[in-house]
């Protein structure tokens, strides 16, 4: 078994070279390179976590922008509704006023027309009275041979006509 048979002559060489090469491994590879490799890993993890956080923040921002947009949409809609209602009310009021004005004008013209009608009627009646009195006088003259004076005939016709 060389491990024991050669122990006395090789132990110092093995210990020395193992310390040399393991020391190199530890100092150069373990202390020098491994932390860099692990820093790369943790940098990657940080980057991934940061990207995820940024995406999350962007999503939250989009959500809030959408909510804001919805709110402004609702408020604008309410504003428009109010405007429409106001315009409607104003239009109704204006049309009412114009209707009232037109109605009063019409009424005035109706009254005027009625006055003219009454006047025409009165003059017509007066004419009819005169014509009727004349006709009655003529009829009495022709049928009875009576000469009735115009005033009496007019009085008689007036009595018949107005009851």
């Amino acid at each position: 078994m060389p491990q024991i048979a050669q122990l006395a002559e090789t132990y110092s060489s093995q210990i020395f070279w193992l310390l040399v090469f393991f020391g190199f491994t530890f100092l150069v590879i373990g202390r020098g390179m491994v932390p860099k490799v692990m820093a790369t890993v943790s940098a990657r993890e940080a980057q991934v976590a940061g990207d995820l956080a940024a995406a999350e923040a962007a999503r939250a921002a989009a959500d809030s922008a959408e909510a804001q947009w919805q709110a402004s949409l609702a408020s604008q809609r309410a504003e428009a509704q109010a405007l429409i209602a106001k315009a409607k009310a104003e239009a109704a009021k204006a049309s009412e006023a114009r209707l009232a004005k037109a109605a009063s004008a019409t009424e005035a013209r109706i009254a005027e027309a009625e006055g003219q009608i009454a006047k025409a009627r009165a003059s017509a009646l007066a004419e009819i009275e005169a014509v009727a009195a004349e006709a009655a006088g003529d009829i009495a003259t022709k049928l009875a041979g009576l000469s009735i004076d115009a005033g009496a005939a007019r009085a008689a016709v007036k009595e018949v006509l107005h009851g």
Partner: protein, 262 residues
């Protein structure tokens, strides 16, 4: 080969030989010859360096290689987070080096390089090497434990709810089990590696011996031995990973004792 195979020595693969005429190098009177063991430590270190360097592109979207390296660092990070907690983060470089060094040693030692004339050597099949790693882990546990908890660290040896009468006995038992840790840590890895390699060597000697003994023996001995070798080789690859994992896991469990006591 036919003359040699009569004296197949399954332990020969563990022999350490000085290379490049360095067998008289010494440091403070101790021999530090650059051996095949040291060469494979160097190969392991370079391979590991190439592997990790390939994963250093630091891309936001990693490629396959970067994914593999990040998978290993993430695995060690997760192991320490699960066993030690947030305080385990600072041990990632050490546990990563430990795990990857053992894993690469185990796996590179299993490569069938003998087909190309090279002689693979498993660094972790020597208890001197595994012992150094184990003592290093144990020393870190001791330093961290006594630095963080001072003498209160000894309360590790008295579990909660121990009856007062039992405390001296439990203390001794726990102390012994604590002191055995570096040995079990180092020996487990060394034995697992050595046993697998010996088994493969013995089976391969059966294959060669059976073929040399004639077609009848070849069919009877070599074919089943070869089939078993393939299966054992797969098992050894598994063991190579598991033993590296066990070493790293136990070290992190011991570090948990030192960091958090109970």
């Amino acid at each position: 080969m036919a003359a040699e195979q009569a004296t197949v020595d399954p332990m020969h693969q563990f022999t350490i030989e000085p290379m490049f005429g360095t067998d008289h190098w010494a440091l403070a009177g101790h021999n530090i010859a650059f051996t095949n063991s040291a060469l494979w430590m160097a190969i392991v270190t370079v391979a590991l360096w190439v592997f990790v360097a390939g994963g250093m592109k630091r891309q936001l979207v990693p490629g396959r290689w970067q994914m593999a390296v990040e998978g290993f660092t993430g695995f060690i990070d997760g192991l320490l987070a699960a066993n030690v907690g947030p305080a385990g983060k600072k041990y990632v470089p050490y546990i990563f080096s430990l795990f990857m060094f053992i894993l690469f040693s185990n796996v590179l030692g299993l490569l069938p390089l003998a087909l190309f004339g090279a002689h693979p050597f498993t660094v972790t099949s020597h208890f001197t090497a595994t012992g150094v790693l184990a003592v290093m882990s144990f020393a870190i546990v001791l330093v961290v434990g006594f630095f963080k908890h001072k003498l209160h660290f000894f309360s590790l040896f008295v579990p909660h709810g121990t009856p007062v009468v039992m405390i001296p006995l439990i203390f001794v038992i726990e102390l012994v089990s604590f002191l055995v840790r570096p040995f079990s840590l180092g020996l487990r890895l060394f034995v697992a590696m050595m046993a697998g390699h010996v088994l493969l060597e013995v089976l391969s000697s059966f294959v060669i011996g059976g073929i040399n003994a004639g077609p009848g023996f070849g069919l009877l001995v070599s074919v089943p031995s070869f089939a078993l070798m393939v299966a054992i080789q797969a098992l050894e690859i598994l063991v190579a990973g598991i033993q590296a994992y066990v070493f790293a896991l136990l070290t992190s469990l011991y570090l948990n004792d030192a960091e958090n006591l109970h």
